[in-house]
Subunit: 207 residues, 2 copies
Amino acid sequence: MTPPVFSHGSLRLYLLKLLDETPRHGYELIQALGDRFGGTYSPSAGTIYPRLAKLEEEGLVTKASDGRKTVYRITDAGRAELAARGDELGRVESEVTDSVRRLAHEVRSDVTTAMKSLKAELASAARDARESASRVPPVSSTTPDDRTTSRLALQDAELALNVFRHDTRAALRTHIGSGRSFTSAQLAELRIELERAATSIKRILTH
Amino acid sequence: MTPPVFSHGSLRLYLLKLLDETPRHGYELIQALGDRFGGTYSPSAGTIYPRLAKLEEEGLVTKASDGRKTVYRITDAGRAELAARGDELGRVESEVTDSVRRLAHEVRSDVTTAMKSLKAELASAARDARESASRVPPVSSTTPDDRTTSRLALQDAELALNVFRHDTRAALRTHIGSGRSFTSAQLAELRIELERAATSIKRILTH
DNA sequence: CCTCTCCTCGCGATATATCGCGTTGTGATT
DNA sequence: AATCACAACGCGATATATCGCGAGGAGAGG
């Protein structure tokens, strides 16, 4: 299927580099790798832990249990290995960046096809709704009263709220994930914006 | 957050039902639940395992280790509980189906907006590529300090988002609760307001 | 009755580890 | 030099478990 982001042995080297910066536990390494390469890609646990186990077996890192976590620390032998092959690091880095870029591209077309299947799904859902509408007879009248309309609209409103919250969160994460900073000044602006929206919505409700 | 698919205590009951059919291990239960409800939704491991632990503590199921797996089996006490509350099962099932349908709805609009943000992301990636072609590519664009403050600000932003959502929901409920109607016209205005806020916030993030 | 507190619950995020598939690199044999 | 078996590797899927948050429900106390 998709070609690996890290080529043969690259991950091993990169893990050593990360552990040379500071000791970390496994999950932290996964996040660190995700951070460095645009948030689009994160290596899976099934990639990291076997590699760490191997590195320990080879004596290049040590493992120390810290409560729920397992902290890995580079050894002298590990530093030696890193010194010997450190010149490969630059090449590895640009290779990975390239792979990630390609991956992002794939994700795009992926979403495009997802849209198509979703349209099909929606059509089937609509068919579903039509069917159940004809099978289940209307409860009382053809024109639903205000109360019912309100409740339906309320559900839609909550849905819209959820979507808004979700999208904004996603935007924030993407922003930070791509290496840009999110300042307290921007936070303040965001707060003001939310305040304004809240006020507007209250005005809408009272006419 | 998104309202839970299983309401209070429903999952507990449903797990008993599944274990009454046949003994299973935890991951198998997660998959079984995913299968029953359209594939869109699968309960997370963080939902299943604490519940199974609780059920075992209560003596309604027993745990047996089988290599890498942990097989759970219903006990007589568990079957008694199931017999006593089995009539709730039908209700639970339709509740869950409804929730899942709503979730699918959310996913739909999610993908639509994901398309937009992906286009933006690609544009920025292209910009990036052009830039890095002329300049020396920075390994990590943000200093650790910046990242830390960003993460803190991110937490504050999520809090603000939650407060906003909560307040708006409360306003809607109060409005309808006091006998006034919430029309689809007002819903449309609300949507526009949220859209406007979302746009503003994205503008804030890009300066 | 009403509300306030506390416990429970669902759930995403955090954390770790193994298995099997397909690919790639390597060394031995031809 | 060519090839061919075998090991090493990346990675998604499988498997388990804990933590903290926010919402729900039950029971106490007014």
